[in-house]
Amino acid sequence: MIINKPDSWYIFIFSTDDMNCPSDPGASIAYNGQRLKNKEYLEHWGKWVFFGSAEELAEMSENLNPYVEDHQIPCIKYDRAPQDWFGLDQCVMCVYCDYRQRDDVFKILSKFGVKIKAWTYDREVIQKWMPGGMHLEGWIKHHKCSEEQAESIRNDSRAKYTKKFFDRPNDICSGWDQ
């Protein structure tokens, strides 16, 4: 199911099952039918990342949607427009899965012409959004935040990710807001 809400920067693909029963933002974070705990998520969960124009990724999403519905791919996220605050001139598609199934998922992607093999763990992304991380500091700089605002954003970020993932390793992972 392609979820295209105009007020979101991202367009998502989740299986209809994961969207409806239960309606749980972390329902797709699973391996072999088992939901991952936070510590497992940080160890294994990640994504294949590649670029394309908005039109190319829209076409790719139509191609990949059946594989998500069939649970061969857990979920997908992609930009509706290039993220100019990161200096990107193309959109990015992230195809999520557990590391242990990434080769199977890449075989599907390669059917549709994906050549770039760039695997990124979610733990790497979280670090980039923590204080001092490349993404958070770049976002703060781009939005010309005052030092007071920047510190508040850093503190919020630290609290959010620490509380959500690192302090509760045995909780079932519920993902994070995108």
């Binding site: 994504k47 294949w48 990342v49 590649f50 670029f51 993220q83 990161f86 200096g87 990107l88 001139d89 193309q90 990015v92 992230c94 990434r102 890449f106 050549k115 770039i116 093999k117 760039a118 695997w119 990124t120 790497e124 992304v125 980039k128 959004w129 490349m134 993404h135 770049g138």
Partner: protein
């Protein structure tokens, strides 16, 4: 031979070629060879100290070299080295 593959805007550095085949024993050597073929690549990927720039992510067969031996990561015949913006996928 290894395949060096450029993603997104980095293809501008290789005259819009998405991949270049070359002989290299390490990632560092791969970048040096690319620089010989397409001057400007090294300056785009590495900082003044010769380390990988923060805005660049390099992968060998899908795995980030940060989780290997960085620029000294060894390459074998048939390996695929992918260059991508470090901002992608945030």
């Amino acid at each position: 031979m290894v395949i060096a593959r450029m993603s997104g805007g980095f293809q501008k550095l290789t005259e819009n070629k998405d991949e270049v085949s070359l002989e290299a024993g390490t990632v560092k050597e791969c970048i040096e060879k690319l620089e010989q073929i397409h001057p400007g690549v090294k300056g785009a990927f590495c900082d003044e100290d010769g380390q990988v720039s923060g805005h660049v992510a390099i992968y060998i067969n899908g795995d980030n070299i940060d989780e290997k031996q960085g620029l000294e990561s060894p390459l074998q015949d048939g390996d695929e080295v992918d260059f991508m913006s470090g901002f992608a996928g945030g």
